[in-house]
């Protein structure tokens, strides 16, 4: 696994901090495009065009879309990331998920959380050696620095976050 992370980081450093092709385009166009209006109607002010970085910082929990998304928002993240590997059919995941989100939100942006559905993103699950769910990884500067499998209570999760932020 260590080699894979190294590879990811190497790839990341090789590519300049330029957003991956295509994926950001819609976001940009949405943000910059003139808000919807039809002829004759009043045009809404440009306050609708929000800069991208604001949108990202507001989301402490997000769903991973694909491999490049993971690379970008988790491995390359400056903020430590908690990765919640879960599945639709997993009962304990449904309990842990909201609990994690609550504890992450309490950290006021010092930690963010990425959610990965292992059936939708089996390749990611394989890469990070996830066999049972829920599996939660703590990733800091592209490295897995902590991990647990199964349910934890709020106190245990708080401790997990504290350790990650420190």
């Amino acid at each position: 696994m260590a080699q894979r992370l190294l590879l990811r980081r190497f790839l990341a450093s090789g590519i300049s901090r330029k957003p991956p092709q295509g994926r950001w385009a819609p976001l940009i166009s949405r943000a910059l495009q003139a808000p919807e209006h039809s002829p004759g109607e009043l045009t809404v002010t440009s306050s609708h065009a929000r800069p991208l970085h604001t949108t990202r910082v507001c989301t402490t929990t997000f769903n991973i879309q694909d491999g490049p998304d993971f690379q970008d928002r988790v491995v390359n993240s400056e903020t430590p990331v908690v990765v919640d590997f879960h599945a639709q059919w997993c009962g304990p995941c449904k309990i842990l998920g909201p609990r994690l989100e609550k504890v992450v939100a309490k950290q006021h942006g010092k930690v963010v959380m990425a959610k990965v559905d292992i059936d939708d993103h089996t390749d990611l699950a394989i890469e990070y050696e996830v066999s049972a769910v829920p599996t939660v990884l703590a990733i800091k500067n592209g490295d897995v620095v902590d991990k647990f499998v199964g349910i934890k209570d709020e106190d245990q999760l708080e401790a997990f976050m504290k350790k990650l932020i420190a």
């Binding site: 599945a87 639709q88 059919w89 997993c90 009962g91 292992i118 059936d119 089996t122 394989i126 066999s131 769910v133």
Partner: protein
């Protein structure tokens, strides 16, 4: 692989040729035989042959253009592993083994082959049912068979247990009712975890898994088409067909549009409501059973007999119990048309059925019509004709020899596609494992299809191992048989006030063979659990004497087999009077 032979020579040479042919067949290797006496230049060829090989005798065998020798040398090479090495050298195939079908048989075979160090691929693809249902890796058993069936059966049993519980002192005021969606979601979640674990297991054993539809295009080559229609080609030295079967439709108006099958039932997102089950197979009766058990209005439409192929006395008892407990039976009718009266989840369907004995027709209105009229092997559209694999015209099943080998030496088959073999998960698993061991592990053990136990999980369960009474009479003749039987009343049913004189146990003994137990039948709760142990005993050659010498565990249902006394031939009454 070339074998030079001369059949004019003595008998012993033919024996050697036969031995060599058998060896190559068992290894799944194709061979060409050149009979020198039938070739124009035969004598000359034989001379040249002896010059280049220093061998004057036949059979004279070449493996991948390397001279092997005669029969003895070939067998020696097989023992030492040299033969396998020579055979592998030609292998420029992508894989040692490709398994088409990721169900019970396919996965077992693939994983065993991988454990033995082979490069293996599994292709699994579920063509959506006419209603659009699909599922993940694992095959019928995991997704739309044994697993959800048993869980829904359990749901029904729990409903019965709740009813019994009051008699055992449990007091509650709530009206107990069943929520179909909660049950189905929970079951589907478990299936999801199984799909994942199967994928994980394949990855851990380095088996390549592709979610694509596999079909043969030419010798040793298949085309894999994924959901998006992208085609990839793969080659392998050997193939195993494990594509299983899918529910059959009736071929009547409205069947595919409006009816559901077991493929759809276990993930149906809404309660089926008032249901008509068409069929009398174990699928039909088990489904009808648990649907009634969770409180639905259920009718079963039967064309002729119940549980064809099973012991008919037991089958009728199974049906009779269901009838006594609220399942309606329409015997000797077949549907001719299904019409939709109302759309919905569920909607309303009208079904018209015709009697098999006369001109009578009946009509009925149901929310759901479940067809369980048999299963069709998935062998018609996988390109078998392109490579010459023989498929039984009528049944669609694949005939194999006792090594699960088809008529094409490098193609094998396991599971429900096999002709004349039991359609059971453990049978497919065993066959798959042993096949892999024979192909790649140098083992020779064949799969035994004798005394395979099974259980029908109807509301009153029926477990059996060995022969039905009809089959036993057919094979051994009635006068050579002794049938011991008894009715029994499970202790748990007494306080609950449930039927006495309903549960039934029967063994069939072969008088000519030490009163060997050749048929075991039980109708009662936990029949599956009870039957499993006795199946092992039968494998050890259980006789009536050994059974009598076994002390029973009390109080259980299974113990009745240790005290069987009354024979059918005596005509004595087996009705139980009190404890």
């Amino acid at each position: 692989m070339s074998i030079f032979h001369n059949s004019v020579d003595s008998e012993s040479k033919s024996k050697f040729l036969l031995q060599v042919k058998e060896l190559f067949s068992s290894l799944g290797v194709e061979y060409n035989i050149l009979e020198l006496d039938q070739v124009d230049d035969g004598a000359n060829v034989q001379e040249v042959l002896s010059e280049i090989t220093n061998q004057k005798t036949v059979p004279n065998i070449f493996v991948n253009k390397v001279h092997m020798g005669g029969c003895d040398r070939t067998f020696q090479a097989h023992q030492s592993g040299l033969l396998q090495k020579l055979l592998q050298k030609e292998s420029t195939y992508d894989y040692d083994l490709i398994v088409i079908g990721g169900g019970s048989g396919g996965l077992a075979c693939a994983q065993e082959a991988a454990i033995l160090g082979k490069k293996v691929m599994v292709l699994d693809f579920v063509v959506p049912s006419p209603q659009g249902t699909s599922w993940g890796l694992g095959g019928t058993c995991v997704n739309v068979g044994c697993v959800p069936k048993k869980l829904m059966h359990q749901a029904a049993l729990l409903g019965q247990a709740l009813k019994d519980s009051r008699k055992f002192g449990w007091e509650y005021n709530q009206q107990v009712k069943h929520n179909w969606e909660i049950m189905t979601e929970a079951i589907q979640n478990h299936i999801g975890s199984l799909n994942w674990s199967y994928g994980l297991s394949l990855r851990e054993k380095s088996v390549a898994y592709v979610n694509s539809y596999g079909e043969f295009v030419e010798r040793h080559k298949i085309k894999a088409t994924n959901r998006k229609g992208q085609e990839t080609y793969y080659t392998a030295a050997k193939f195993v067909i494990a594509t299983g079967a899918r529910p059959r439709y009736l071929g009547i108006q409205g069947d595919k549009e409006y009816c559901i099958t077991s493929d759809d039932l276990f993930s149906l997102p809404y309660c089926p409501g008032k249901t008509l089950v068409v069929g009398a197979s174990y699928v039909a009766l088990e489904c009808a059973g648990f649907l009634a058990g969770v409180g639905l209005d259920v009718t079963v439409m039967v064309r002729s007999v119940l549980l064809r192929g099973f012991d008919q006395e037991m089958a009728e008892k199974v049906g009779s119990y269901m009838e006594q407990h609220g399942v309606k039976f329409l015997r000797k009718f077949i549907p001719v048309m299904v019409q939709q009266l109302e759309k919905g989840s569920p909607g309303k369907l009208k079904i018209v059925a015709k009697s098999t004995e006369g001109p009578e027709t009946i009509e009925g209105v149901y929310n759901t019509v479940l067809l369980a009229v048999g299963r069709e092997p998935s062998t018609r559209k996988i390109g078998l004709e392109k490579i010459g694999v023989k498929v039984s015209e009528k049944s669609g099943k694949i005939p194999v020899n006792d090594m699960e080998q088809t008529n094409v030496p490098y193609v094998y088959a396991v599971g429900d596609v096999l002709e004349g073999k039991l359609e059971l998960t453990p049978v497919a698993i065993q066959a798959g494992k042993l096949l892999a061991r024979r192909l790649f592990g140098g083992r020779s053990e064949k799969c035994s299809y004798i005394n395979v136990p099974t259980t029908v999980f109807t509301p009153l369960e029926y477990g059996c191992c060995g022969l039905s009474e009809e089959k036993a009479i057919e094979i051994h003749k009635k006068e050579n048989l002794e049938v011991y039987h008894t009715l029994f009343w499970p202790l748990e049913w007494t306080v609950a006030g449930r039927d006495n004189n309903t549960c039934y146990a029967k063994i069939i003994c072969n008088k000519v063979d030490n009163n060997r137990v050749i048929g075991f039948h039980i109708l009662g709760p936990n029949a599956g659990e009870v039957t499993q142990g006795f199946a092992a005993a039968m494998k050890c050659g259980l006789t009536k004497q050994l059974l009598d010498g076994t002390i029973g565990i009390h109080p259980t249902c299974g113990e009745v087999f240790t005290t069987l006394e009354i024979t059918k031939s005596s005509g004595l009454d087996i009705t139980q009077k009190g404890c």
